[in-house]
């Protein structure tokens, strides 16, 4: 025993005390003494010894009770108590342990045994102290973390307040700790009166995943407000995440948009499970992921983002979810799975109840194997009326009533501009500022975007449409687009947009001319009949939306007339 301890010796027999005290002093310890239990308690409080050697039978208060009192009133510390007993007395050994004794010593007192027992108990005490400190440190750490969590929570809540998830046509299930699971759900009205939603799922958990949600939300809201298309929003999120996140972190996401009339649904699925479009008791479309999750590919590489579009009406429902629901595990280690999920949706007789029914199915399936923290599920009913009423209830007015004006502007982009500028968001913005077209703005954007894309891809870049035959070569098409655009030295696109007011509404004339050789519309038409799928759809869409479409200058220019009222 090298370190000096302060030891309290309690015995009513003076001779015993003297013997023990001598042994302890010889071992280098400080000793204080008491002659009964009551005195022991008083001296203990005063002197705070490290260890107690305690006799059992004493006047005034016996050793058992004194030990019990000392141990109880000092439960935060470990104070070893060695009882002095006769070895033969089993009952008093048991009573000694019960009252809180840690060891026993019997007469005659042996110096070596007493020192060994003291050392052993001090080792226990030391472990106890270490554990106590660690527990304390852990508690402090936990408190700190909870505080930081609360602060982060507040910041994030403020950040996500812009979301319009309160509208009646959206139902969502997203765990309250989802933030730190890396799931994110955003919703915003579009400047033209439609609705846009993003559901994202970051790899990993915790703060690392949560950090990425901030720029995603920022980009989503600001670009949506400025009238950018969902493809552009996706690309920008991808570029930002690529820039800031480490390689293994990325975000699988779906962005969907319904236009102001809630008739046209556009979906970009980048790495999330199939988006389900429900109508008339059945899933009508499974919208598969067509591109890499966001944040993996460097800007300008082969990331091809293209939205899928669907005609819908107020009875269509869209289901967005992360893989948590499919991979939910029950006590038997079974997965909830896609089949069960689809069955839940299709089995409901009342479409209004589907969402609750899925939740119920999931609860029944998981029973007590609660894991719902990882589950994010969103239902969007494509009902403009419910949406607009919810917004109106909150006094949110989106678009001014349209008032037809007369205006005209044109824009010419030369090769060097074509390389770096996407004029579509700019044109959208100009048109929104000049002319509120009310619910029709989306259609105009669609027309403009198709016309410009055609002019750039086929007129200027001379890309081969047939490359878009299959999903596989589709990718090649976009790689080719990037490559040719990067090396572009010649070519131009000229756009002229003119608006003529009528008594009710107005007439928009859009003229687009490119520097290319033109094309044979008849050839494209017959091609469209044969192949309904991947390309050439743009022209059909334009012809559908516009009252007049004419191809001029051997097909290198096109003029369309769009009428609204």
């Amino acid at each position: 025993m090298t370190s000096t301890l302060k030891i309290l010796v309690v015995d009513d027999d003076r001779l015993n005390r003297v013997v023990i005290i001598r042994i302890l002093r010889e071992s280098g310890h400080d000793v204080v003494e008491a002659s009964n239990g009551k005195e022991a308690i008083a001296i203990f409080e005063q002197q705070q010894p490290d260890l107690i050697v305690m006799d059992v039978m004493m006047p005034v208060m016996d050793g058992y009770q004194a030990t019990r009192i000392i141990k109880q009133s000092n439960s935060e510390q470990f104070i070893p108590v060695i009882f002095l007993t006769a070895l033969s007395d089993e009952a008093s050994l048991v009573k000694g342990i019960e009252s809180g004794g840690d060891d026993f010593l019997s007469k005659p007192f042996n110096k070596a045994i007493l020192s060994a027992k003291i050392s052993a108990l001090m080792r226990v005490k030391e472990l106890y102290e270490i554990q106590k400190q660690q527990r304390k440190a852990l508690e402090v750490y936990q408190q700190q973390q909870q505080q930081e969590f609360n602060i982060a929570r507040k910041v994030f809540d403020k950040f996500f307040q812009r979301s319009c998830l309160y509208v009646n046509n959206i139902k969502s299930l997203i765990s309250s700790v989802a933030l730190f699971n890396g799931d994110i759900l955003l919703a915003s009205p579009t400047p033209t009166g439609g609705l846009r939603i993003l559901l994202g799922d970051f790899t990993g958990h915790g703060l690392g995943a949560a950090i990425g949600t901030m720029p995603v939300a920022d980009i989503f809201y600001s670009m949506t407000e400025k009238g950018y298309l969902i493809e552009d929003v996706c690309l920008e999120i991808n570029n930002k995440l690529y820039q800031i996140l480490p390689t293994e972190l990325f975000c699988a996401a779906v962005i969907l948009e319904v236009n102001a009339t809630f008739e046209l649904l556009s979906i970009v699925n980048a790495g999330l499970p199939d988006v389900l479009l429900y109508h008339n008791g059945k899933i009508q479309h499974y919208v598969q992921s067509q591109s890499m999750p966001l944040g993996i590919l460097v800007k300008g590489s082969s990331l091809a983002i293209k939205s899928a579009r669907f005609k819908v009406n107020a009875t269509w429902r869209v289901y967005l979810y992360t893989d948590g629901i499919i991979e939910a595990n029950n006590a038997f280690n079974e997965l909830f799975g896609m089949d069960r999920f689809v069955n839940c949706i299709e089995a409901s007789t009342d479409p209004e109840q589907i969402f609750d029914y899925i939740k119920q199915c999931l609860d029944n399936f998981l029973e007590n194997n609660a894991q719902s923290d990882d589950i994010s599920l969103v239902e969007v009913l494509c009902d403009a009326q419910q949406f607009n009423q919810s917004l109106a209830a909150r006094n949110i007015i989106l678009s001014k009533p349209p008032e037809p004006l007369e205006w005209e502007f044109s824009l010419t982009l030369q090769a060097s501009s074509l390389k770096v500028i996407n004029p579509l968001p700019l044109l959208n913005k100009v048109i929104i500022e000049l002319q509120s077209l009310g619910h029709r703005t989306d259609e105009v954007f669609t027309i403009l975007s198709e016309l410009y894309t055609n002019a750039l891809h086929h007129g200027v870049l001379k890309l081969d449409s047939s490359l878009r035959h299959s999903v596989h070569s589709y990718l090649k098409y976009y790689q080719e687009r990037e490559r040719k655009l990067a090396h572009l030295t010649q070519g131009s696109v000229f756009l002229k947009i003119k608006h003529i007011p009528k008594t009710m509404g107005g007439k928009l004339i859009i003229y687009v001319r490119d520097s290319g050789k033109g094309f044979n519309r008849q050839g494209v038409k017959s091609f469209l009949r044969d192949n309904q799928n991947l390309h050439g759809r743009g022209l059909a869409l334009i012809e559908n939306l516009c009252t007049h479409v004419s191809y001029l200058e051997q097909g290198s220019a096109v003029q369309v007339v769009y009428e609204w009222s």
């Binding site: 790899t203 790495g271 598969q288 992921s289 890499m292 590919l297 991979e327």
Partner: protein
């Protein structure tokens, strides 16, 4: 041990076989399987035919491996099980890895 790797002398391919689950828990083991090699492999084959589960952090781990291997001429081939093939497909990883069709 759910990950085993073997360097094949005759074709210079490092075969990494993963069974059971391919997820965050196998992160260090997976990384070690391609970083602790004596030879520099000419190509890699990740055999996931006997793995029944893969999560998104495993996708991230594949990206880290791709980054480590660096050179785009070095092929990383993946042989998935049917389940895992779906996951790779959703993430359109065929753009970055050579993914073989699962044997049904």
């Amino acid at each position: 041990m759910t990950i085993a790797s073997q360097y094949q002398q005759q074709n210079g391919q490092l075969v990494i076989q993963i069974t059971e689950r391919f997820d965050y828990s196998t992160r260090d083991e997976f990384r070690a399987s391609y970083t602790n090699t004596d030879e520099i492999p000419k190509s890699y084959l990740i055999d996931l035919q006997h793995a029944d589960y893969m999560d998104s952090s495993a996708l991230g781990m594949l990206l880290l491996m791709k980054e480590y291997v660096g050179n785009n001429n070095v092929e990383i081939k993946i042989k998935p099980s049917t389940n895992i093939h779906k996951i790779l497909d959703v993430a359109t990883f065929q753009q970055m890895f050579v993914i073989k069709s699962p044997i049904v």
